[in-house]
């Protein structure tokens, strides 16, 4: 938005500028950086899309086949190759949603605590703790999951169907821990940006702190909190290693939390080294990558819609 007086002011300013100022190196540099990023994203999208459609274009697999539940990439004496990707797509969506459901109350609660409740000293503990959380490599989460969580589920929830421990729940639990710092930090930003005047006004009306949080802070930060959760889910969808270590990697459509299953990322990492370019199996992995990309693009669109400021009612 420009005010009517700005162009005049700008042209006056320009006359007084020296050569280097007029060259405006910082502006050009940042423009080049922006153009580079856009170009990279464009190239990446077209590269993955091109490779992702080869399963249909090159190997002639019908599009409908990928929505089947049968993953049988290696032809055998009994059956030809079938590239049903539904187990992976559903697996990814399931772990993502369940991890977010587990993580959301914890992380939003933690963010609220840090923003609204914690005294300074408590914040000086929780803040670095969060940063440590972010810094832990995913293989460590996976290793902990494999050596602690999986045996725990097997021993303690054996009667609930966790016969081997490797399960959808194990994957979701590990992921929920991993996305905790993401959701917390974005939600914290949302709470901190709620103007202090609103809290002041609310408290001046005689509300308790909880009532202020419940009726003022949370509604005001609503879109920010939802954005935080969606970003957490995106992180969950993209995580491969830690999930792969605890989920069991069984390519079937999941029917219970106790069942081993698999995800798009997990299957890609399992098979990519052992397949060759141009093989239908390898092309199916690219298609999985494309689907993953489409899922995250969907989430980007969602985040942008949600983070739009809410319309003020008259």
């Amino acid at each position: 938005m420009t005010t009517p007086t700005l162009p005049i002011a700008r042209s006056r300013l320009r006359r007084s500028l020296g050569f280097t100022e007029r060259l405006d190196v910082p502006r050009r540099l940042s423009l080049a950086a922006a153009a580079f990023v856009v170009l990279m994203v464009g190239l990446l999208l077209s590269f993955i899309t091109w490779n992702g459609v080869q399963l249909f274009a090159h190997s002639g697999v019908p599009l409908s086949e990928i929505f089947s539940g049968t993953w049988h990439p290696d032809p055998s004496t009994q059956s030809a190759a079938i590239f049903g990707l539904l187990p992976f797509i559903l697996g990814t969506l399931f772990v993502m949603v369940i991890a977010a459901l587990i993580s959301m109350p914890l992380s939003v609660g933690l963010a609220l605590f840090m923003a609204e409740v914690a005294p300074r000293w408590a914040r000086s503990i929780t803040q670095p703790a969060m940063e440590v959380f972010v810094g832990i490599p995913s293989v460590v989460y996976g290793w902990l999951g494999l050596t602690v969580l999986v045996p725990f589920l097997r021993t303690n929830l054996h009667d609930l169907g966790f016969t081997v421990g490797f399960s959808l729940l194990a994957g979701a639990l590990v992921l929920s821990l991993m996305i905790l710092p993401t959701i917390t930090s974005v939600a914290l930003d949302a709470f901190v940006t709620v103007p202090g005047e609103m809290r002041g006004a609310s408290l001046a009306l005689g509300t308790t702190r909880w009532q202020t949080i419940r009726h003022v802070v949370l509604p005001a930060a609503r879109s920010g909190v939802i954005t935080a959760v969606v970003l957490g889910m995106m992180r969950a969808a993209g995580e491969a290693l830690a999930v792969q270590m605890v989920i069991g990697n069984r390519p079937v459509i999941p029917t219970s939390l106790a069942q081993p299953m698999t995800t798009l990322t997990s299957q890609i990492t399992l098979d990519m080294g052992n397949t060759v370019n141009g093989e239908a199996w390898n092309e199916a992995l690219w298609t999985m990558g494309l689907i993953l990309l489409l899922i995250s693009l969907g989430f980007v669109v969602l985040v942008r819609r949600l983070s739009r400021p809410a319309k003020v009612k008259p």
């Binding site: 290696d74 004496t77 999986v150 081997v164 990697n249 069984r250 399992l270 397949t275």
Partner: protein, 298 residues
């Protein structure tokens, strides 16, 4: 790249002739120190330079050890060894990214015919797999091929059926695209499918080993070297009454084995050829290979 090969090869050729002469001389020991060192060189076939081999993680320990031994013999040559999986090795050697592609499976089984024909196969070793079970499963020491097939195809689902305790069988295996699975499918399953959606899949031999150690009633198939490193925590099974040992693999009586392939694009030359020749030399085939729990190619 500047190629110093022609003169070098001529020198080596001469050295080889000298070496052959020295050998065919029978009991006559050569006294010429120059000829002696040339002969040593011929045995090592030193060619300066640097090459990269990538691919099969099952072959990686062997190629890596051989590469290091070769560099020790010929300090001016370097053999870089990377993993990545058989598919990666075949793709990279085909694309010219590496000079040697290591693979557990034949190029013909993975690549389109014209591509496969452009690669030259060098069988350098045989590698074996052991059927292992969780140590909690007692009373099972041997499986016939038929019993193993029934277990892996989901016909047999309880250890009781093969003489073990009344406990459900948990199948844990490496990815379907791995050499382990390809070998199991070919030799034990006779090309049939494993029980669909029954097995748990783990990415690496290490992860499979950990999973079998900790999961009651579980069974898997792992590489010889991985079994040797985790002997104390796993129970190995005989296949058709034959122990999974390097000796039994070497004499062919142990069936669960496959060739280790090293592919070059076209006929190898220079250091690539020298290194591939070294892989087939006696010191690698009969000393290094058994020490790493592989069997000689022949």
């Amino acid at each position: 790249m500047i190629s110093p090969f022609p003169t070098r090869i001529r020198v080596l050729g001469l050295a080889a002739v000298l070496a052959a002469a020295a050998c065919s001389g029978g009991g006559t020991p050569t006294t010429n120190p120059t000829a002696n060192s040339a002969a040593t060189q011929a045995a090592g076939s030193c060619v300066d330079g640097s090459i990269t081999a990538s691919g099969s993680t099952a072959l990686q320990p062997l190629v890596d050890a051989a590469g290091k031994a070769y560099t020790k013999l010929c300090p001016n040559s370097t053999v870089n060894v990377q993993g990545g999986g058989s598919g990666t090795g075949l793709t990279q050697v085909l694309g010219g990214a590496v000079q040697i592609g290591d693979s557990d499976v034949t190029a013909e089984s993975k690549l389109a015919t014209p591509d496969a024909n452009s690669l030259v196969d060098h069988v350098v070793a045989r590698q074996g797999w052991v059927m292992v079970i969780n140590t909690g499963v007692t009373g099972v020491t041997n499986l016939t091929t038929q019993q193993a097939r029934d277990i892996w195809t989901g016909v047999t689902t309880n250890w009781k059926a093969v003489g073990g305790p009344d406990q459900a069988i948990v199948l844990i295996i490496r990815p379907a695209s791995s050499g382990t699975r390809a070998t199991l499918k070919k030799i034990v399953l006779g090309g049939a499918d494993e029980a669909a959606g029954q097995a748990l899949t783990e990415d690496s031999n290490g992860a499979v080993t950990t999973a079998v150690q900790s999961t009651p009633g579980s069974t898997s198939v792992i590489g010889f070297a991985f079994y040797q490193a985790n002997k104390a925590n796993l129970t190995a099974l005989q296949l058709d009454g034959i122990d999974a040992t390097v000796d039994n693999m070497t004499n062919g009586s142990y069936k669960l084995q496959a060739f280790g392939h090293m592919y070059s694009k076209g006929q190898p030359d220079g250091l690539t050829k020298a290194f591939l020749d070294y892989m087939l030399s006696d010191s690698v085939q009969h000393t290094l290979i058994p020490s790493l729990f592989y069997a000689p190619a022949q």
